[in-house]
Every structure is written in C-alpha cells, then in structure tokens.
C-alpha cells in the first residue's frame, strides 16, 4: 500500500468513524438519563439531513442547517413528551420497543414527505471534484468539514456536561435520580432535554455528512446499527469510549476494503457487534462490575 493510499483510507476511516461516534453519543446521552436505547436515533440524523435539504431551497445553507437542527430538536422533544413522559414507572424493555415504533413511524412519515429519492445537501465548499492535497492524498474538503464539525460537537458536549449547571443536572439525574430530585431537579425535564440534545447533535451530523453519504428516508436505519455497535463496543454510556470505538470501527471498515470486497463492509460491523455481545457485553472500555449493576 502506498503512503497516499494509506492516508486516503485513513481519512475515510476517520470520517465514518466519527459519524458513527456521534450517533453512538446520541444513544449514550439518552441511555444515561433514562437507561433506554433510543432506536430512533438514526432517524434524527436522517431528519436533520432531509429538513436541511428542503429548507436549503429557500434559505442560505447555514440558516437551513440551523433550522434543521432546531426542528429536529423539536421532534425529539415531541417524541419524548408524547411517548415516554407520561408512562408511569415503565419497564426499560417497553420503552425500547416504543422507540423502535417511533423510528418506524418517523421513517414512514419521511417516505410520504420526501419520497424514495436519494438527496443531498450541496458541498459546503467547492463541489464533488474539488480536493485538498494532504501528504499526497486527495481529500474532499467536505471530509474535513465532517471531521471538524463532529470533533467540535464531541468537545462542546464534554464541556457542557462538565462545566454548565444544565449539564451537571443531567449527569446528576444519570447518577442518581432520587438524589437529583432531592436537589430540586425535575428528572422528567432532564429526560426531555436529553432527547432534544441527542436529536440536535444527530441532526447536525446528518447535515454535514449529507453531501458525501447522501440522505434518503431510510438512511437512519443503517446508521443506527453502526452507532449501536459503536456504543456497545465502547461500553454503553461512555462518550469518550464511543469516540475511540467509532474511530476503530471506521478504520477497520476503511482498511478492510484493501483486503475484502466492499460488499462485506457491513458484515464487519455486524460481526463485531455479535462478537462483543457474546464475549464482552460491557464493551471494550467498560468495567464488568459496573455493567452488572445496570439493568442490561
């Protein structure tokens, strides 16, 4: 393998890896506050892309993206308020099945609104054939956008959870719901907020990746599976581990192309998912005893 090809694969791997990581972080945020896996997470990513594409017909690109993120956050809040909030002490399994239902619902609504066509946002800078030369490899500027924006999301989120009162309240609810209530925090509001936050970052990721990965009504499903694999691989609930696991999966997929046919790419992710669920269900970076305390 030449050095140029190596860098080419490297960038492809990092790009997909960080996208998977963002989806996985969306899973983690909701998992941490509620203990459930929100299987509609991939649909949030799809909605972000689709809404931005529609808005972009009327508005300049940055406004269209901002609008898409806000609208998707609204959808996230509505999903939580209509389907989750009013449940009285629901079982985790019941809530998970509800999110699967919601994901089907959103997908079908998207099919009716946008049809089966494959769409995409325009490249943020340049077009399909413009490239940046990095160490001899030709990289699309959009790839740098994806990596840049997703990195900013990851860093901003960790600052949010560490230094803002709102973020601390969400962590408090994750750590101990009763104690959080006794500090005057309303845990239900924190759950709504976690759905909005997951929807928002999912939508933003959906927008930046749209020019290279394209968006269609069911593109959320595949992403959800990859994101779920990454979330499990890293250890549920741990966002930094999700980034590491995301990059690992992205790079594995990218470099596998040089050995096995492209068609086997998804097989790799699913094999990893199965293997990890059988052998190390608490994830590569998770601790077994900690996982044992959780409901799953």
């Amino acid at each position: 393998m030449t050095a140029e090809l190596f860098i080419q694969y490297l960038f492809a791997g990092v790009t997909y890896g960080i996208i998977y990581a963002i989806v996985a972080i969306g899973f983690n945020i909701i998992y941490n506050t509620t203990g459930i896996i929100n299987f509609a997470q991939g649909e949030f990513v799809m909605l972000g892309g689709m809404i931005a594409i529609t808005l972009n017909a009327l508005l300049p690109l940055p406004l269209a993206i901002a609008g898409a993120v806000l609208l998707t956050m609204l959808v996230g809040a509505m999903v939580e308020m209509t389907f989750i909030r009013w449940l009285k002490s629901p079982s985790v399994l019941r809530m998970i099945i509800i999110t699967i239902g919601v994901s089907i619902l959103i997908r079908e609504v998207a099919l009716h609104i946008w049809g089966e066509g494959v769409r995409s946002l325009p490249y943020f800078v340049g077009n399909e054939i413009s490239t940046v030369n990095i160490l001899g490899a030709r990289i699309s500027p959009q790839v740098l956008w994806v990596i840049g924006v997703c990195s900013v999301i990851v860093i901003a989120l960790s600052l949010f959870f560490r230094y803002t009162m709102q973020g601390q309240k969400m962590r408090a609810c994750a750590a101990n719901r009763t104690a959080a209530t006794l500090c005057g925090i309303n845990p239900k509001n924190m759950v709504t907020l976690s759905f909005m936050l997951s929807a928002g970052i999912g939508a933003l990721a959906g927008c930046v990746m749209s020019p290279i990965t394209y968006t269609e009504y069911d593109s959320g499903t595949g992403l959800a599976i990859k994101g779920f694999t990454v979330a499990i691989l890293g250890g549920l609930g741990n966002s930094m581990a999700a980034v590491a696991a995301g990059l690992l999966l992205g790079l594995l997929e990218a470099f596998s192309v040089s050995i096995v046919p492209l068609a086997y790419q998804d097989v790799i992710a699913l094999s990893i998912l199965l293997l990890i669920l059988f052998v190390r269900p608490h994830g590569l970076f998770g601790r077994k005893d900690a996982a044992g305390l959780k409901e799953f």
Partner: protein, 241 residues
C-alpha cells in the same frame, strides 16, 4: 416550622403510616426514634414528596405541601438527607455540593457558591477531597457529603434519615457533633434514628414511632429517662417493678 397532621401513607396495599401527627419548631432538633419497619423512612419520604400522602396534611412554614412535588418542596425550604447517603457517585465532591446549591442558583442567588466555605468549615475532610469522585469516599465521608449537599440549598428545615447507619462509633460521634453545630448555626433539624440514645442526647424533643403510630412524645430528657424507652430502645434490661 413543620406541622404534620393525621398523615397516612404507604406502598400499594400496605398502610405504613397510621394517622401520624407531629410538629417541629424553628431552631429545634427533633428526633424520631423507632425500630426497623416502624415507618420512619416512609414518614420522611412522604414529607419530602417522594411518595404521595394518602390522607392528612403537611404544613411547612404556614404553607400546605401535602400534594406538592418533591423537587418543589426543596425549593420551599425542606431538604432531605436520604437513607444510604445517595451521593452522585460518578461526580466529584465539589460537583455534588454545587448541585446541592442548584435551588439557590435557580432562585437567582448569584453568590450561592459562597455557601461552600461554610460547608468546608463544617466538614474539613470534604475540602481536602473536593476533586475526588464521591463514589470513592468512605461511608462516613459520603454521609458528610450528603449532609453538606442538603445544606447547600440553605434549607429552613433539614431532615436526616438514619445518618449513623453502618458507620464506626467514632464517626457517628463526629456526625452527631456536627448536627448539634448545625442547630447553633440556625438550622432546624428533624432527625430519624435507630441509635436512640445518641439521637435523644442532642435533641430537644423526641417522638417514638412504633408500627406506624406515634406512641410516645416529649422532651428528649424525659424520653431518655422513660422506662419503656429504656427497655425497648436503649437496650437497658430493667427488672420489672
């Protein structure tokens, strides 16, 4: 400060509290003693809104709070230090305390973090460990953290649920000394204890709870001297008269 009248509460079909009445005056330490299963924890959980009251009323500072939500009751000035400490294990000591002050922050008190100095003065060990994760503290330190976190809300009334459970005698002594200090600083305390002797020693008044009913009440010294209390809760084997 706090008035409870004919309070009934329980879980499912189980009726735990049977028409309980008690009151706490401002500046007092009132203790409620009783054996396991008497309903002590249920009483505090009902007052703090964690479980709903079935009947009766709870009045905090002339305001009825019987049906008020738990997170709102904290805002009205009544904080609970729950049984088993319940610290935010994955967060640092300082973060735990800051969250305790969230209510003050919400009320627009921009200087709510000043309260930290008072807490660190009361519990010097928390100052030493402020950047450590709460889950890594010892049991006694976690109890102090839970108390400090409740105090950060500047509550008019602080309710403590069995602060001495599972702690070494020396640490229990320390905790009770701090509760006395809290009264000197102007806090009103409702203390629930199995360790009846230690609790009655620092309290002004006391109630004895048995199977969901209050069977005795009075000044702490009187209860300490009471033969029934001595026999049942202070482990003193007295010859029957």
């Amino acid at each position: 400060m706090l008035k409870v009248r004919n309070l009934e509460s329980g879980y499912g079909k189980l009726r735990v509290l049977k028409r309980i009445s008690l009151h706490v005056n401002p500046g007092e330490i009132v203790t409620l003693i009783g054996a396991n299963g008497a309903g002590k924890t249920t009483l505090l959980a009902t007052i703090s809104g964690l479980i709903p009251a079935r009947a009766g009323e709870i009045i905090l500072r002339d305001r009825e709070i019987t049906r008020v939500k738990a997170e709102k009751i904290v805002e009205l000035g009544c904080s609970l230090v729950p049984e088993g400490r319940q610290v935010f294990a994955t967060m640092t000591v300082r973060e735990n305390l800051v969250l305790g002050g969230y209510i003050q922050h919400k009320k627009g008190n921009r200087e709510f973090l000043r309260e930290l100095d008072y807490i660190y003065e009361l519990f010097p060990v928390l100052a030493e460990r402020q950047n450590q994760l709460a889950g890594t503290l010892s049991g006694g330190e976690q109890q102090m953290l839970a108390m400090g976190r409740a105090l950060m809300a500047k509550p008019a009334l602080i309710m403590l649920d069995e602060p001495s459970t599972g702690l070494a005698p020396l640490i229990v002594k320390n905790i009770f000394a701090i509760i006395s200090k809290m009264r000197e600083a102007g806090n009103t305390v409702l203390l629930i204890e199995q360790n009846a002797k230690a609790a009655l020693k620092i309290a002004d008044r006391g109630y004895v709870l048995e199977t969901g009913k209050i069977i005795l009440e009075g000044p702490a010294e009187a209860l300490l001297a009471n033969r029934d209390v001595q026999r049942a809760y202070l482990g003193r084997d007295l010859a029957r008269p």
